[in-house]
Amino acid sequence: MAGGIRLQGITKRYPLAEGEIRALDGLSLFFPKGSFTVVLGRSGSGKTTLLRLLAGLEEPTEGRILFSEDVRRGGRCGDGVGIVFQEPRLMPWLTVEDNVAFALKGRLEDAEIAARTTSILALLGMETFRSAYPDQLSGGMAQRVALGRTLAFDPEVILMDEPLGALDYFTRRRLQGEIAGLHRETGKTFLLVTHDVEEALALGDRVVVLEAGRVTDCFCIPFDRPRETGCPEFLPLRRRVLESIAGEQCLTGGH
């Protein structure tokens, strides 16, 4: 298999009191190594379920997830895949520095942990906050620390579950730039899920549209980053993506 992650006929069902809910329905996708894929969809389309399956937090009801050798080292959950959740999920009893180093303790030498943590804090512009506790950080800073913790773990694949969803417009724009820069610098495989079309177009090499647990569309984004999604050449693409999600009727107000 070419380097990356392949999903083959993935179905995920959750039992309910009466019947069941089908979060993913026979999903087949390939995420090439080093790519930046954005999965776009409305609430309840199955985006988060997809990430949870890829992170190993849940098992598919049907189908297989195949990791190429260079992606899934050792086969243990977390060895090759890291995830940044919608909320930072920092350990409140640890400082910024210790949160970033959280996954490294006991796995690397102290000197190596210190060096790696320092370089990641520098990369994220958080050196001055290294001794702060999570409740002393803004939402954007906390999300940056969460990203740093995942980067410190050094996974081959970085999954992001709407990590910027709770942030204000300006912080979101700045962090989008930082995420794009990290992808460029690290060459890792990024998979981000969002319901924000602008964010999808600003970050992805490819935008996959998910609806009711199925892939309904896929768009390649032929522009270099950093991107200004408001410029004229983006407008046709933006319209096609919006139509794909909301339908033409919704875009024209039903008239």
Partner: protein
């Protein structure tokens, strides 16, 4: 369960402007305001003979009794007896309640085996068991230690169960995605996150231990602050009773303060250590 066992806040201990009556700058002076006012009222009332000195002795009489007890070494002897019993009983209680609390917090399914028994014991006041404890353990130290264990077990146990079982599942998921083993997740996520709740349980338990101990010493002891009160009652020495009550209050407040300081060191992320709050 432990939601019922909450630590009490002290009015006026918050920072300035946060809904408190007195500004934080009052500090210790603010805390001494009411005791000083009570002392003045007590002193004036005693001087004017507003009440019978047998019912409430004068501050001067209580001071004389305190000095005499302290000088003879009797007061220290009783304080040490009580403190030693608390140290033993509370340590034993922690050594049993904490591991059991962790076990039931991590494996809630085991609760169905333990809960009926524990619920039964929780609703039996330890002092009600004292006659039986004296029968089983004798009039010596063991029965009083048992009373303290019974009184302090549940605050420590219930708060430990609460802290462990309420650990944020989302943090545990983070541990899983970062490749932590089950043991590592317990030691590095569940245990630290439960620490504030455990410390609350320990603090409450320590307070309960004083109450239970004095009760036990009133009934069956030949030393300790409870015995001092019992003996003074028999001798109609209300001044000594007041001395013992004041000493108990001060010792209780001091041990609580010690625990607060310990908690501030152990859980700095809770904000108390950084902001000086106490709520």
């Amino acid at each position: 369960m432990a939601g019922m066992e909450k630590s009490q806040s002290w009015v006026g201990a918050g920072s300035e402007g946060e809904g408190t009556f007195f500004p934080a700058s009052f500090g210790l002076a603010g805390g001494l305001l009411f005791p000083l006012a009570a002392l003045i009222v007590w002193w004036i009332g005693s001087s004017l003979g507003l009440w019978n000195a047998f019912l409430l002795p004068s501050p001067a009489g209580v001071t004389r009794a305190a000095v005499k007890l302290a000088a003879s070494g009797e007061l220290l002897h009783h304080i040490l007896s009580s403190a030693l019993r608390i140290a033993w009983g509370f340590s034993l209680s922690c050594l049993t309640a904490f591991p059991l609390g962790v076990l039931l917090g991590v494996r809630p399914g085991l609760g169905r085996f333990f809960n009926p028994t524990l619920e039964f014991l929780r609703h039996v006041p330890p002092l009600a068991l004292l006659p039986m404890l004296i029968l089983w353990f004798g009039i010596g130290e063991a029965s009083k230690t048992a009373v303290i264990v019974l009184a302090t077990f549940f605050p420590v146990f219930l708060n430990t169960v609460d802290g462990v079982s309420r650990c944020d599942r989302k943090l545990i998921e983070v541990g899983r995605t970062l490749g932590l083993t089950e043991r590592e997740r317990f030691l590095r996520i569940i245990l630290p996150s439960s620490l504030p709740s455990v410390l609350t349980g320990l603090r409450l338990g320590l307070g309960y231990s004083w109450r239970a101990l004095i009760g036990a010493e009133l009934i069956a002891a030949s030393s300790g602050l409870g015995y001092l009160i019992h003996d003074a009652q028999a001798l109609s020495r209300s001044d000594v009773i007041v001395v013992a009550i004041l000493v108990m209050g001060v010792l209780g407040a001091l041990t609580d303060d010690l625990f607060f300081r310990l908690a501030r060191r152990l859980v700095p992320w809770r904000g108390e250590g950084r902001r000086g709050g106490r709520n």
